[in-house]
Symmetry: C2
Subunit: 328 residues, 2 copies
């Protein structure tokens, strides 16, 4: 059931088997599996999953390769709802471990907010990451192209950039080192933009020049283009660089503040889990982009199946063939 301010009271005393933080591909897949395992679940979704921004999912088995990410999420929500899963638009503020269950405080509504508290035996952290974007004065100019031909994921969209004039929008020297030489597998026509936010060391500059890649350190004024197709970049000094595509690599924001007090094992910001998604806390699972792995919707969906199955294995108990009194 879709919960809202008006019907929250129906759920006040309920102890859910599992609370899922995040209604993206991972969280929805977990929810579908949990409901089918006859466990009760509640998804708390703050909206705007990473896949929501993807205009076309090109590599999700079973969906046509021009399926918008939001369509995958819509279908998943319908599926989950058809299995009587509870879904609430809200933001998880804090999680307290009460021993056998968690108590979870949620902010509902941007204005006149209310702060209901829910309880659940298990927690699945599926709240993902969001990519940092170039900080321009007018961010609408960035949103106009991000997710279209201005990409944030090389694994997803390297193919779309093949042999095109590509702008690489870097957040740090490390992002250049880690990404540019791999990006060149798809296209070697790379112009790196630092937006004036950091220095590039001389050894790296030399190396980039040897490969013929260009570096632009003057800040960006705006992206150029129309109809969501970016065609170039204009710098603050007026210079224009024509481009056919772009890749933003400025780091990510991890949506996991509510887990801070648990001191879970991490590796480079990502949560460490076992093969089923269990973190170093036995009743907290992490799936999708929050965990060590590959940030892909199809992987997150598989993660959801694994975590849900392990929680079912933890919770299930055998039942007796009880003959109902009325039928004896």
């Amino acid at each position: 059931m879709l919960l809202s301010k008006s019907n929250l009271d129906d759920r006040a005393d309920r102890l859910y088997d599992v609370m899922i933080v995040g209604g993206g591909a991972g969280g929805l897949s977990a929810g579908i599996y949990l409901q089918r395992f006859r466990l009760s679940s509640l998804i708390i979704d703050k909206g705007k999953a990473r896949s929501f921004w993807m205009q076309e999912l090109h590599n999700y088995l079973g969906l046509p390769p021009d399926t918008p990410g939001r369509v995958l999420l819509q279908k998943g929500k319908q599926h989950y709802d058809s299995l009587d899963g509870d879904f609430l638009n809200g933001f998880v503020e804090s999680v307290i471990d009460e021993g056998d269950s968690f108590s979870v405080r949620v902010k509902v509504g941007r204005t006149n907010s209310i702060y209901p508290v829910f309880r659940a035996k298990y927690l699945i952290a599926a709240s993902g990451i969001i990519d940092n974007l170039p900080p321009l004065e007018d961010m609408k100019n960035v949103y106009e192209y991000a997710g279209y031909n201005l990409h944030v994921c090389m694994v997803c969209d390297g193919y779309e950039m093949a042999d095109k004039q590509c702008g690489f929008f870097a957040g740090s020297e490390a992002s250049i080192e880690e990404m540019v030489f791999n990006l060149s597998w798809f296209t070697a026509y790379i112009t790196i933009f630092t937006h004036g936010q950091f220095e590039v060391s001389e050894p790296l500059k030399t190396q980039l020049q040897e490969y013929g890649y260009r570096i632009v350190e003057t800040p960006i004024e705006q992206f150029l283009g129309r109809n969501h197709q970016m065609t170039g970049v204009q710098l603050v000094d007026g210079t224009i660089f024509p481009l056919e595509t772009g890749l933003i690599s400025m780091g990510s924001t991890y949506h996991n503040a509510y887990l801070q007090e648990f001191n879970l094992d991490r590796k480079g910001g990502y949560l460490v889990t076992d093969k089923m998604g269990r973190t170093s806390h036995p009743r907290i699972f992490a799936i999708g982009d929050l965990k060590v792995g590959l940030n892909q919707a199809i992987v997150a969906a598989g993660d959801g199946a694994l975590a849900a199955t392990q929680i079912w294995r933890d919770l299930r108990v055998p039942r007796r063939w009880e003959v109902l009194a009325s039928t004896t």
Copy 2:
């Protein structure tokens, strides 16, 4: 391109980056990712993936919950073909490691077979398993219901069996011990059929009786029902047991004979892999039902993405910005 006897010569001298054995959910997902990584791939498919038999995939995020498994496979094949992946209906007979590449002998055609040999740098084993079915004199009687309301996967279809009169078709005492007490989470109305193929020990019999489950050791003559809906079982002595659903648990056949000579690490028949699907051989990956994990289509599809990405990481090299001679 769909390869066949008539156009195989076009590929005779080609060294593929990756050969994928099996065109199920795992293999197709891997193929889609590989082609998008600008790597060349060939899928060899013997037909009849496990998901092909599933009449309804109820838990695959993004697909309506009544989608037949064969529709997922059809969509995946179209997607892979649109990316220029090569696909051949055939059976892999043997694989020889030549050091930097594998040489793979394939049987093509059931009659007038030919035996082409293909070469590839990497191998992805995605050929899966197939469930053993009750060995009746007339197997058509089994096929009539298998994949409809006579299920082979508790994780997939436990929900469909909820609180129904359920026949459990066991292949061994171990399958009873491992499955029945978990199946009862979904339905406690369990009648176990041994088909006269093995003895059930007294301690287990006592335990089953305590839970109220029935045991039938007389062999089965036939399943009863119509329009693919099984309604019961008739034994060889004429006794009829009405049922509403069933779960077959008679073990599986692993389609991995072609890997025999590699002595890969295994655990209970399943191949051991790292998180990206790499086996103990550095150029052989295993995904989906062949590896240790959870036998689910959505997990196999995620596995395909992981294996393909790791192989791309192994093979990719940086490229220089070369100005074409004609444009200077």
